[in-house]
């Protein structure tokens, strides 16, 4: 208990900078987004709590300290979501606490078996507990059912923080817990997440749900890179965390602006944003290009590094390539439906609020530009040197992926909601916690019948049973 709480290392500074950037941008954006003064005040206060808890988590030296700060950040996010949607917030808190149960059991085991510090990998036998616990935070397949609902319905700046940073805490935990060798389960899980997320994103009728599934897909990239087990893999995971966090923040801010302008999140209600919101459209193009990994953007550098890390695992790389196509389809869809097409009637937002919201997006661009212009800087900061990012083959690959996505989108544009109901049922299969607790609660409450004879019978019968049990 007398060890230092915090440790500063290169791979923790980058996530901390990401957190700072996102919180600062969200603060500016939130001033423009929230309608009521009360909501703005609550958001500002909770942002501060979130920021401090997340910095504490990122720089923590032991698992217990990490756990405590992650829980505080979960509570802060819960309260932020509750500013507008209490039911979704309560569901989010419950699911995260269920994951925390497994995580805490793992941490307790690690404290006993001597792996209490984040710097040392966790004993093998405890890894399943860590994966289950952190997997709820990082939305591993099977544990991801909460993500579309929560990220898709929370207020836009909160979704930005959730998708941009909170889920990355789970990955950060993976990086600390995994030993330095490839972990096949997580590699497969990452590839599956990337594919599932990308293609489900393309089928969503709602802009924020599309972005939520896209988060799942990009998390798949990060998890796969982390599971590669090498230093390149770790660096790639952290680099893509930073880039994706900033880009997804911008995209969620953009979705929030669309929501405020058109009064709806559904694609059927959006249209013609390029004319009504020129700045937003410009920033959207930059963000989407970055997420697609077009040459010159920071996303190209981070995805390139991930491909380097997964060099030896060709099936995984192929999955990621396919997922890239899916990502391209989803963002062409978002661009075409939201910003192109027929002009739907926009509401008038006050110019000041729109400027604040665009300002938030612009702040994130400021952080993204250096990462794109100097792709080698972040990897060398994380200890990986000598990566050639720009080659003819790589640029051609990323451009052709984008082209394939555009063609696919153009071909299937008429069928936006393909097989949505079935896939949704598959996705929500894991959300059994609340219905189990409801049903269990109803059963247990029915046992409390109110009849004294019943109570007496239970007491005496159990006493006799105990007596028999002890004397066997």
């Amino acid at each position: 208990m007398t060890e230092p709480f915090f440790v500063v290392a290169a791979e923790r500074v980058l996530p901390a900078l990401l957190a700072g950037a996102l919180v600062a941008a969200a603060a500016v954006y939130g001033e423009g987004y929230f309608d009521a003064v009360e909501e703005r005040r609550a958001f500002r206060a909770l942002l501060r709590v979130f920021f401090f808890s997340v910095i504490g988590a990122v720089f923590s030296s032991s698992w217990l300290v990490f756990f405590v700060f992650v829980e505080i950040s979960t509570v802060a996010l819960f309260l932020m979501i509750a500013i507008q949607r209490r039911d979704v917030a309560e569901g989010y808190l419950q699911i995260q606490l269920v994951g925390a149960s497994f995580f805490l059991a793992g941490i307790a085991g690690a404290s006993i078996m001597g792996g209490a510090l984040l710097s040392s990998p966790v004993p093998r036998v405890l890894l399943p507990l860590f994966i289950l616990g952190l997997g709820v935070k990082a939305a591993l397949p099977g544990l991801h059912f909460w993500l579309p609902e929560v990220h898709g319905t929370a207020p836009a700046p909160v979704s930005a923080l959730l998708s941009g940073f909170a889920v990355k805490l789970g990955v950060f935990g993976f990086l600390a817990a995994l030993p330095s060798e490839p972990h096949s389960f997580l590699l497969a899980a990452g590839a599956f997440m990337a594919l599932w997320g990308a293609f489900r994103a393309a089928l969503q009728p709602d802009v924020k749900r599309l972005l939520a599934y896209s988060t799942m897909s990009q998390l798949g990239y990060i998890v796969a890179a982390a599971a590669a087990g090498s230093q390149v893999g770790t660096a790639a995971a952290i680099f893509h965390t930073a880039v994706h966090g900033l880009v997804k923040g911008m995209l969620f801010f953009c979705a929030g602006i669309l929501e405020k302008t058109y009064g709806t999140k559904k694609f059927s209600g959006l249209g013609g944003g390029a004319a009504a919101l020129p700045w937003t459209f410009f920033l959207f193009v930059f963000a989407a290009a970055s997420l697609l990994g077009l040459p010159g953007t920071p996303g190209f550098a981070s995805k390139g590094l991930i491909k380097e890390a997964l060099h030896g695992f060709s099936p995984i790389s192929l999955c990621l390539l396919a997922a890239n196509v899916g990502t391209a389809v989803s963002f062409f869809k978002m661009g075409a439906f939201a910003f192109g097409g027929v002009q739907k009637s926009p509401r008038k937002i006050l110019q000041g609020r729109l400027r604040l919201m665009n300002g938030g997006m612009l702040m994130l661009v400021v952080f993204l530009l250096p990462l794109g212009l100097f792709p080698g800087w972040a990897p060398s900061f994380l200890g990986v040197e000598g990566i050639r990012f720009y080659s003819f083959a790589k640029c051609a690959e990323s451009l052709s992926v984008a082209l394939a996505g555009a063609l696919l989108f153009a071909a299937y544009r008429k069928k936006p909601g393909f097989a949505d109901a079935l896939l949704r049922r598959i996705d929500e299969a894991g959300s059994c916690f609340s219905c189990v607790s409801e049903r269990g609660g109803a059963f247990v409450r029915s046992v409390q019948s109110g009849f004294l004879r019943g109570y007496l019978f239970a007491a005496v019968a159990t006493a006799l049973l105990l007596m028999l049990w002890f004397s066997r």
Binding site: G441, Y455, A458
Partner: protein, 503 residues
Amino acid sequence: MIFPNYWMLFSILFPMTAAFILQLLHHFAPSKTGGWILLSCGITSLLTFGAAVSASSGVRVLRLGGWGADLGILLVSDPLSAVFLFISAFGGAAAVWATFSNISKSGPTAEQWRLCGLFFILWASLNGILTTGDLFNLFVFFEILAVAAYVLTGASKTREALEAGLKYLVLGTVGALLILLATSMLYMGGGILNFALLSSVVGGIPRGALAVAAGFMIAGLGLKMGMVPFHFWLPDAHSSASTGVSMLLSGVVVKASFYSLLRVTTLLFPAEQAGFSIPDTLLVLGLLSLFTGHLSAQRQTSIKRMLAWSTVAHMGYLLIGIGCASPLGVAGALLHSFNHAAAKTALFLGAGSFSTLSGSKEWRSFTGLGRRFPREGAAFLLLAASIIGLPPLGGFWGKWMIVLAAMEKGRWMTAVAVELGTALSCVYYVPVLFRLFSPRRSEETVPVGVFHSGMLFFALGMTPLLLALFYFVPSLYEYLIAAGEWVVSPALYRDAVLGSMVP
């Protein structure tokens, strides 16, 4: 410390005498009774606190009447009972203050006058349970406690309270019967009633008799404690009683019953000699209590009933702690008893005051009260968060130690279940908190009135913050582990008590 052995004696004698004297005093000087009640409360609390402090530094043995261990009654307190004596000192004082602090100049109301004697008798019997060294004496104090508790439960004389009191009476008497049966079996087998001496001869008792005694003793003490499946009286009794009584019952009485379960099972039925393992059974019953309590609390509309079910669940945590059969597990259970006692006492106080303000026990009627009384609302929020088990507040650390102890024994499913309780408690506490802090609609009237015992509530509400610093106080951690050692090896207790017998 001066007279280290005598604090425990006076912590029993003084409230017992005060109970009777106060009733007499009311006859002769009704207007002064209020002051005397609070004075007696203060003195009793001080005596109990003194007993706790003296016990925390070592075993204290007092031979009543000078009789030896084989014939007489010993009062024994050791670091384990010190924890519970602290709970008794503070919880009892809080409950008495909450009930009697607003006595007007003309003297106590008829109800307050009826109850004051019983409160002190209850407190005296609690201290008796916590410091006795004799098995039958334990039963006697339990009976005194029971009578006082039954009457106090039904004291508000509403139909609900009377029914709850009656159910508590019937089930409690069955529990007492089971304890008495077990005591008599142990006496018949061992020939002695003193804990220390009995624990040294328990190896000679036939195994069958020991099994029967163990089963009945766990059933009886578990019933007093609110262990599932003996818990059915608890939600009714704790929710129908008046605020001060609920505070005492849920905060202190169930902990005293837990203490006696701990003491009796570890001293008299140790695993090596008995051939059966009690901790495993207690672990299973603890898990059962945990889930029953949390799941039943979920749809409750009455705030006090919800808090009573929450008590059942937290008793489950304590049982899981001792079910891990290690000093770390017991230490976790002790820390959690302290945290829960502080938080539950305060929560009942808060619930009672909010109910009085809004005119109903339904928590849905508490809309906006947290905004109207921001200090008390913040205190309620902290207490609820601590009870839910959110780090870094106090309630988390007891659970953390229990989870550590469970993983030490390799029981990862138990460890997960303990923390799962946090997720389950969120389901029912969070809506209450939202309701407290949501803005009141304009057509509803703003409640007038003062928050009853607001200062006390606010002070109690700060305990989760204080206990959050537990992580930084290694000496407290070591003290709890040392108390756990006392439990896990009964020989320590035996040698200390019998060693002090030597003149």
